[in-house]
Subunit: 355 residues, 4 copies
C-alpha cells in the first residue's frame, strides 16, 4: 500500500499539495454517535495556522475547514468524515526560481529519485501544509478520547540551549513559542528573532503528555503503543528523534534506578515513579504517557548554500519566501494530533482484546 | 488487526511464548527465486542466542531453526516461509514463585490489564525469546537485500558512560559486547561483570548502519522510511528511544549547520555531509542510513524490589533465574533484523512507484 | 479498519452521502508518470450518470469531477489523487416522509442497527451515488492498465427473461440498456417502460470481460484474482451473485468437460477452451477474464408495500422520488470500474513476485 | 501484501505445501479468555480429512493438530495461536512423472507464470491440503461465535443434476456426501462411484447457513458482509460461483417479489420473507444468512487429456494418484470455516462501530 493512510480502526488518509487546489483528510472508522461541530475542528487548525506571530511565517490564510461527509444532525454517522481546506493564497510562482535546484535539507531530490518527477511548488506534498489533514483528524480524535477522559497536551520543551525548567501548562498558549516556562519563553522569542535576522533557523524539542489512558492499550509485539507513537512522530516533517519516558537517558541508568516500583493507591495499582513513561511491554500502564521528539532547524534558510541543479551542475541557492526560523510552536498541535490519532486507534483496537 | 504482523509486502507474523512449545515466524511476500539454505538462517540465530559468554544469560539451547514451507530445491517459491524453533530447555517451574507478583519494569501487569490473564512462564510472549522469529525473518531479508547490494550492520555504541570512540567494524564480533572499539570493549566487559556481582543491570545504545540503499525508498507521508524504522525499533523489547542521523543533537543545531550541501561526485548526486542520516522527507537519499536506539537496563534484577501482588498486597520481589545484566550484545542482531525487514519491505514497495 | 478503503497497492478510499455536500475518492498508490486529463475521468462518470434516458432516473446533475491533488503538469505525481463531485441538486426534503419508516429491500434498518443512527436523506451512504468515487477511480485504473494493453468491457447480458444471444460490442453504447444484442435491446427497453408504468422494478445480469491480462496476476491463497473480483462485485449495491467462467454451470459438468486442454499457438501456451474464465488457482491464465454478476430489482418501487416504523408500528410505504426500474445500464460502468481497480492492484502486486 | 493472510481483526495466515514438512496457520487477534481444547479443533479437521469413505481420496493421514502457542491453562491468551499438522504420508515421487507437464484445469501453469517456478509435488501450495489451516482456524472461530449464539452449517445441495429436495440437518453427517436429503443421498453416492469407474469427476453446489447473527455486522461500502463472504468462498480451491439469498434467481424477479416486507414479531423487527439471504446494504439483517457456492469437478482425472509440456511440446496426460471424483463432502467443512472466519472478524469489527 502507498503511504498516505494511517491507523488500523481509526484510520485516516490525507491528500493534497502545498500549492494545489487544497489539502484534507478522509477519516474512516470514527465511531457513530460522537457530537461534532465545525468550530471544534477549526480550533486546532487555528493553532497550527501560520501567520499568528513573528515566530511563524507570514502566509495569511483562513484555513477554513469544510466538512463534506460523515456528520449528520451534529453527530458522526459512522461513515467516512471528509475534511478539506482549500489553498486560498497559493503563490506557486514564488518557486519558479528553484524548480531546477535541489534545496539542501529538503526532499526535492529524494522525491524526484522516487517518482521520477516532483511538484516543485512549495515542496508539493513534502510541505508542512500537508499536516493540516492530520490536525483536522486529530481534532476528531481529541473529541472522541474525551468521552473516556483522555487528554493530550504538548509544548516546546527546548529551543537550542534554552530548556524549560518548569512546566506550567497554563502558560503554554500564552506565548508564541508555546513554552510552558514563563521565565524562558522571552529568551526563546528573542533567539528566534535573532535567527531570523541572521537568515538562519533553529532546532528544538517538543514534549507531549497524555493523561487518563487506562492500562491495557497497545498491541504487542509489533503494534506496541510506543512503537506506533514512534512511527507517528517520525512521520512528521522535521522530526529526527523520538523517546518515551526516560528515553535516551536510560543508557546511563541501572535497573535498580530505572525500574518503577509498584504500589497501590486507593485500590488502584500504580507505580511510585514513571521512568517508563507510561508504557511497559508496549502496553499502557495507566500512568501518564510522556514522549519527546527532536525537531531539526527548518531547511529553508535565506542564507546562501551550496547545491547542484537537476542536471548535476554546481550552484548556490538562497531559499526565499515565507519561512519559519523554527517549527516548534506549529509542531506542537501537529504532534498532539499524531498522539491523539494513535490513542484513538488503540482504544478501538482494545475493544477486541477479550471475549 | 492484532499486532503480531509487520510489513506491507515483505510481511512477517511471529508467534510463540517463552516457555510454550516453540516460537517462530511466517514470512509472506518473499519474492520467488531467492537461493536460501538453512545454515544462512542459523547464522543470525546463533548470534542472537543466549549462553555465548558471561555477558549473556546461561540458558543453553541449540535454537535450531526448522523450515516447514516456502523453500523448494534450494530456492524460495513465493509462498509463505515458515520457520520455527522448538523450546527444548523450558523450565516453567522457575516462574511459579512469581506468578502472583508483578515484576517492576516488566509487562506482567500491563498484559494482564489488557487481556485479563497472562502466561506468566518467563514472561510468556513478552520475552526476548519472541525475537527469534524476527531474527530468522531478518536473515531472509538480509539475503534478499544482498541481491541489490544493501548491507546492514549494528554494534554496541555505548554502555552506561562508556562510549566507543572509533568504529572498527572488524572488531565487532571479536568481543562479547559487540563493541567496535577495541580499547573500550574490555572496560565494557568489566562493567557488566561488576553489575552481575551487584545484582544489577545496565543501559546502553546500539548504532545501526545500512549501506547501498539507493535514493528513493520510503512512502510518505506516513510510511516514511525513518517512521517505519522508528516503529520497528521501538517494537523491540527494552528500546526506549530512536534517532536518525544527528537525532536529538539537531535540537542544538542551526539550519546552516544541519543542512547537508549537495555536490556531484562521479556523476552521482551526493551530499558533502550526512547530518540527515540518509533520509530526507522520509525517502532514502542514497547516503548511509545511520540509526541509534537506546536500550534500558534489563528489568530482571536479583536485587530486592518493592512491588504488589495481583490482589494488590504490598510485597518484595527478587527476580531469580537466567538473566542478562545487559541486552546490548543480543540486541544488535535483533535490531539489525528489524532494519533489514523494513528495508526489504520498502524495496518491494518502491517497485510500484512508477508507471 | 472500517470498510471504505479498497485495494492493497492501488488503493482507494471513498467518502460521501447521497444528499450531503459531495462524494468522492482518494486514490493512494497510483504510480507516478501516468498522463491524465480531467476529461478522461469525466467520460466514465458521464456513462454512470443519471438522467441519460427514460431507462434511468430523472435527477439532473452535471456530476463534474474536480481534481484536488495528485496531478501536476498533466501527469500523476505518485501522491494521493483526490477526486470529488459536489451534490448540486440534492433535495433532502424528498425524504422527510419516510425518515421514520424502513423501506423494504433497503439498508435503512441495517444501517441503523449497526450505527444507532442513519442519514435518511436518499439512503445516505447506502445510495448508488456512493459509486461515483469508484467510477472516478476506475477511470484512473483504466488509463493505467492501457499502458500494458489491458481493456475491460461490460454490458447487460440479461434483463428478466430476455437474454442477449449475440455479443456485438459495437452495439453496447448505442442503446439505453447497454445490451450488446441489437435484436434484444428494444424488447428490454419495452420491458423497462412497462415496469415503470406498473410501478415495479426488474432484475438482471451484467457480464464483464477483461482482455490482455497476462498470465501470473493474483495472490493465492486468499487474495486470488477471482476472490478479489468476487469481493469487488458483491460490494456494489444490488449485486447478489458472482460467477467466473462457467460459474454455476460447473455444477452440472464433468471434469472431462470442464478442464481446458492446453495447446501452443504461435509460441504462446494457451487453452483451446475457456471454461475457467481466465483464472486457475486464483492466478490469471492469459485467457480472457469472463465474469457475470446478478443484480436484484431496485428496492425503490412506487407500489405500496408492507413495513414497520422505527418504533415498530406496522405501516405501508410507497417509495416516491427519482428511481430507476432497473440498475443494469448504470451498473455496467460501476462494475467495469471495480474490475479495473482489482486488476490495477494486482498488476502492481505482481511486480513484487520475483527477485 | 502477499495473499496468505485473511481477516482484519480476527486474522489468520496459513502456510505449507502439500508434500512439504507440514501445513498450518497462525491466528492473530483471537480474543483472550476463550476456553479451547485440542479435541475441539480436531473435530473439524477430521471432517475435512481424506480417506473417510469411497467418496473421497485414499490418502491416509491422521492430520493430528499441534498447538504451538497462544493457549495457556485451557484458555486463549490473546497472543497468536499457532496450529500445525505435519505431512506424515507425503509421497512426492508420485508426481515426478508430471513435473514437466501442465495438468489441464490445475494451477501448474499459472503458478509458474507468476513465480517463475513451482513446487510440483502434489500441486504444492495449490493443493486442497492448504485448507487444513483454514479449517483449524475456523474451528477456533466456531468456538468463539458460540459465545454469542452464532452457528454455521453447510451441506451438499446439488451434485450434477441431483438436488436435495428437503433440508434435514440431522441427515447431513449420516451420509458420505453430506447431503441433507436422505432420499437423494444414495443416488449421489452411486453417481460418484460411476464417475470413479469412468475416470471422471463431478461438479456441484454447497449451501451454507448462519443462524444467530444479530443485525448490524458488515462494514460498507467495500467490506460488506456479503462481499467478504464472496471473497472468502472464491478463495477456496474449485469454487467458481457465489450467491447470497436468491442469488442469480433475482435476475428474473421484480422488486415487488424480491423485497422482503418488514414486520414485527415479539418486539423484534423481522421480515416475512428472506429473499435477501440475511444481508441488506452489506450489513446483516438478523435473519438467517444463506449462501450457495458452485464447485467445479476436480481437475485431476485419470482419463487421457491433451496438454503441453513446460517447453511447449504437445503431450497427453492422465493424472494418477489419490484423487476425489468430487470435492463436495470435503468442501463443506472448508466452506463452513471460511464463513465462520468472516463472521468472527465482523463481530470484532462491529465492536468499534459506536462511541
Amino acid at each position: 500500500m502507498s503511504g498516505s493512510t494511517f491507523g488500523t480502526l481509526f484510520r485516516l488518509t490525507t491528500f493534497g499539495e502545498s500549492h494545489g487546489v487544497g489539502v484534507g483528510v478522509v477519516i474512516d472508522g470514527c465511531p457513530a454517535g460522537l457530537p461534532l461541530a465545525p468550530e471544534e475542528l477549526q480550533h486546532d487548525l487555528d493553532r497550527r495556522r501560520v501567520g499568528q506571530s513573528h515566530m511563524t511565517s507570514a502566509r495569511q490564510e483562513g484555513d477554513r475547514v469544510q466538512i463534506l461527509s460523515g456528520i449528520f444532525e451534529g453527530y458522526t454517522t459512522g461513515t467516512p468524515i471528509m475534511l478539506q481546506v482549500l489553498n486560498e493564497n497559493a503563490r506557486p510562482q514564488d518557486y519558479d526560481a528553484i524548480k531546477e535546484l535541489y534545496r539542501p535539507g529538503h526532499a526535492d531530490h529524494t522525491w524526484e529519485a522516487k517518482f521520477g518527477r516532483r511538484d516543485y511548488r512549495g515542496g508539493g506534498r513534502a510541505s508542512a501544509r500537508e499536516t493540516i489533514g492530520r490536525v483536522a483528524a486529530g481534532a476528531v480524535a481529541r473529541k472522541l478520547l474525551r468521552t473516556v477522559g483522555v487528554e493530550v497536551i504538548g509544548y516546546t520543551l527546548q529551543l537550542m540551549h534554552l530548556r524549560a525548567q518548569v512546566i506550567d501548562e497554563a502558560e503554554i498558549e500564552r506565548n508564541p513559542m508555546r513554552c510552558p516556562d514563563p521565565n524562558i519563553a522571552p529568551a526563546m522569542v528573542a533567539l528566534v528573532e535573532q535567527a531570523r535576522r541572521e537568515l538562519d533557523s533553529l532546532g528544538g524539542i517538543v514534549e507531549l503528555r497524555a493523561r487518563g489512558v487506562p492500562p491495557g492499550w497497545g498491541e504487542p509485539v509489533f503494534d506496541k503503543l510506543d512503537a506506533d507513537l514512534a512511527k507517528a512522530m517520525l512521520s512528521i516533517p522535521a522530526v529526527k528523534g523520538f523517546e518515551i519516558g526516560d528515553g535516551f537517558a536510560v543508557a546511563n541508568l541501572r535497573g535498580s534506578q530505572n525500574n518503577d516500583p509498584y504500589t497501590e493507591v486507593e485500590e488502584r495499582i500504580t507505580t511510585s515513579s514513571n521512568h517508563a513513561g507510561g508504557v511497559l511491554g508496549g502496553i499502557s500502564t495507566g500512568e501518564e504517557l510522556i514522549v519527546r521528539i527532536a525537531a531539526k532547524p527548518p531547511a529553508s534558510i535565506a542564507r546562501t548554500q551550496q547545491t547542484v541543479s537537476r542536471s548535476g551542475q554546481s550552484a548556490v541557492i538562497a531559499v526565499k519566501g515565507r519561512h519559519d526560523p523554527t517549527v516548534l510552536p506549529r509542531l506542537v498541535p501537529v504532534a498532539e494530533a499524531m498522539m491523539l490519532l494513535v490513542l484513538a486507534d488503540h482504544w478501538l483496537r482494545q475493544r477486541a482484546a477479550r471475549v
